[in-house]
Subunit: 153 residues, 2 copies
DNA sequence: CTACAATCGGACATCACTATCCTGTAGATG
DNA sequence: CATCTACAGGATAGTGATGTCCGATTGTAG
């Protein structure tokens, strides 16, 4: 019913980056502070997202992370396949190693349509869409209230 | 996308017990062997299910666990609320401590209908229904094929 | 070139879940 | 009562996800 911390951080960070002006790298430190998550841990996650081609990173002054070109339309499913692993959409609810339509667990047929709906929702939600809805101010990206006024584009 | 081991074992064990003749206690050892799960760990889980009123337990000879009267119609949701905790249906996908309709995370409104579908499915699935479908032989309750030879010397 | 800022990445620490061990206790049987 | 059996439950260990630390490396600016 809930994602792993790693996935949560990844999604939050990516949405936050997507709310920032395009092309301008965002500091890991700033993202961590904004989201109220451990910065060293977040850095590892962002590095992974870099290796998987979602982000660009820049060292030195004016460094930071930014969304790679064209990655604003990345879906949540693509993100979760990275953070939860490629078996994210495959694994059996009861943990059976083999659970196909032929050799199904008792929940397989009940779960199938639900899974389909989840995947549809995750495929449909893109980073730029989510970033837009955050920028309307109607949604919260993190628990910690923003102590400083974030820049509006 | 997948339940905790504890929940998996609980659901599997309860379905298995529900497939056995009513009123006759089933040995923890037999359940563990049938499911291919560690028996000592399963015992803890079954004890929890006893305390929560789903199971009766009997010590000594002819002992074991059986479904409490009327508990054959228990839904999966009731089971998971025990094994995953009462916040199972409440928690935010992004892990926010507060995420209501008023203070929503960016995924809240997308997730709501999906969550509704999940809960409907879990509420609808009862132990006796699942036990019945297992008894048809079309579904597997565990990975390990039941060769059913207790080759003890 | 030099100094500094920021990521990179390996090593280590922590915590919750998972799993095991062992002793105690209760029930059944003769 | 004696004894076997099976659950009860506290203590303990393994494991993977999570979180922290610190030095190495790379890029920018002066």
């Amino acid at each position: 019913m809930v994602l792993s911390r790693t996935s949560q951080y990844a999604v939050q960070a990516l949405i936050y980056i997507a709310t920032q002006p395009r092309g301008e790298p965002v500091l890991n430190r700033d993202i961590a502070e904004r989201l109220g998550v451990p910065s060293a841990y977040l850095a590892k996650i962002l590095q992974t997202l870099c290796k998987q081609g979602l982000l660009d990173s820049f060292r030195g002054r004016l460094g930071g992370f930014r969304l790679k070109d064209g990655m604003h339309s990345t879906s949540l499913l693509q993100v979760l396949l990275i953070t939860e692993g490629p078996q994210f959409t495959e694994s059996c609810v009861l943990g059976l190693k083999v659970c196909s339509d032929e050799t199904a667990c008792p929940l397989h047929n009940e779960w199938a349509p639900v899974k389909k709906k989840i995947i549809a929702m995750l495929t449909q939600s893109t980073l730029e869409d989510l970033a837009k809805s955050v920028l309307t101010g109607k949604y919260r990206l993190a628990d910690i209230p923003v102590s400083f006024v974030s820049a509006l584009p």
